[in-house]
Symmetry: C2
Subunit: 144 residues, 2 copies
DNA sequence: TTCCATACTTCCCAATGGTGACCCAAGATG
DNA sequence: CATCTTGGGTCACCATTGGGAAGTATGGAA
């Protein structure tokens, strides 16, 4: 998208700081942000990260803690997070296999943010549920 | 999933605090957290929230800013966020229709967290990309 | 009269997520 | 010896979802 010609939304260039002007996650390099955000901010990743932020856990522990997650999804999620360098995978060659997952240093730097997100959700779930009910009943009466 | 028989991980009830040991998002009431987290922390919602945290925007502005998003997905996302009471929708009955979206008070309380997440991503994308490359090349050589 | 813009909605198909079955290894159990 | 169990996975398949294209309504411009 052409910078200069962008019209009604044209912010004067030069006002740029981390969070100012044309925050645009599109065809530019920033699209990688989109891609990464996608990865870390999906359903299971957030939960895994939040749990691992507390302490390292084994595969089966994670599975039990999260418990809506299927083996495949947990495995896939962990593999993604490992690929992205956010979690480390330690295999103990013992006979019932044992694999520990922990946050890497990089992962830890995300941990607090993710926890903040989860905590926000916990703290505000009631208000959200209220809002949903309001919205739904308003919609129903509007349709009537 | 028998509660009582669950062994090594059986948490005694009553030891639960906001972020203590028994963080388990499963069959209990906490499952709502999962549901909500799902909603707010998906691909487009985060980006929308982050953008609206800067300032209110119109539908088409959001679309241009995010620009990987289809009309449908943006509409769906906004409807969800509106339902959850995180964004407000203001329709101006003018002739090319105009609809403004803004964070509600509730949405604003999330805004900073979401921004933090996005900023983290922006700040660490290079390290993640490096990690990916490392992982991928390690995997390739392992397969050879 | 046709075209344009905005803000959607509907339809359809491909991609993706998720489920359950199966696999592997070795020690315990019968 | 055969079989079961346990932990950590993979695989094939199906349901859900995401995304693209096109349709809708409105009134003003060309």
């Amino acid at each position: 998208m052409e910078e200069g010609t962008s019209t009604s939304l044209g912010y004067p260039e030069g006002t740029v700081s981390a969070w100012s002007d044309a925050h645009q996650w599109d065809t530019r390099e920033d699209c990688e942000v989109r891609q990464i955000l996608d990865r870390i901010a999906d359903k299971w990743s957030l939960l895994v990260l939040a749990l691992l932020a507390e302490r390292p856990l084994r595969f089966s522990e994670l599975r039990r803690r999260i418990d809506g997650v299927s083996q495949r999804m947990l495995a896939v999620t962990l593999r993604h997070l490992e690929r992205d360098g956010l979690v480390s995978r330690t295999v103990f060659p013992v006979v019932p296999p044992r694999v520990d997952y922990a946050l890497t240093e990089l992962g830890e730097s995300l941990g607090s943010t993710v926890q903040a997100l989860v905590e926000w959700t916990e703290g505000h779930q009631e208000r959200i549920i209220e809002a949903r009910n309001r919205y739904d009943s308003a919609k129903v009466s509007a349709e009537a």
